[in-house]
Symmetry: C2
Subunit: 130 residues, 2 copies
């Protein structure tokens, strides 16, 4: 019987959790890896991906497909949305609850379980310089 497997705490995982805690930068795996490598040079990329996968499975992390080039991770799993700078790829959180009801005749029989709004634009820095 499948059962939920134990999540063992290790120094590597503690470091990843510490890095993610309260982090609103929506880091990529690479970002996480390089930040933590300073402290733990032995840390492997596989461990980063394994841990992110485990956290995602426990619902403690969102995997965002917001960036053209790589996955981004968000430790805040309370319903919210995102604003993305098309120039520097900065991502910021939008905490606002939009009314997004999809009428049945438009939902085409889908069972809707989640929603996410992406806003595109330019962040203050890029708007100034570009």
């Amino acid at each position: 019987m499948e059962g939920k497997t134990v999540f063992k705490m290790t120094p590597q995982r503690a470091a990843i959790l510490e890095y993610l805690d309260g982090n609103t930068s929506h880091p990529s795996a690479e970002d996480i890896y390089s930040a933590i490598q300073k402290k733990y040079p032995m840390m492997s990329f596989a461990t980063v991906y394994n841990t992110l996968e485990a956290l995602k499975a426990k619902g403690m992390l969102w995997e965002l497909n917001i960036d053209d080039q790589r996955k981004r991770y968000d430790p805040n799993t309370k319903l919210h949305h995102h604003l993305i700078c098309e120039k520097c790829r900065a991502v910021v959180d939008i905490f606002k609850d939009f009314d997004l009801t999809v009428p049945a005749d438009i939902a085409q029989g889908f069972m809707i379980t989640g929603k996410h709004v992406e806003f595109y634009g330019l962040c203050p820095d890029c708007a100034k310089n570009g």
Copy 2:
């Protein structure tokens, strides 16, 4: 002076355009490549990507980051949103205009130029079988 470069029509491009015209399946580059390869076995992957890039630059195509694994392309560039099946990755269009105004105090100085809503769920087939 940069100027917009000419878009030369070639048999390969005609085939890609024909395949995309009215296509609501949100195909990946691979999908496009294999569909067209039946007719044009000499067609190269580079050509598919080059053409998609050119069409995107002309605003005739959207590149969608809604799939974990690969980019998906949408020839319909009229404002709309998407509903994604989390099981089979099917993507369907939602033509409904949501009111998505972001108050200035929440926009954090961003200049917002676009928006896109993703709904997640299960398509009728997957809801039935899963």
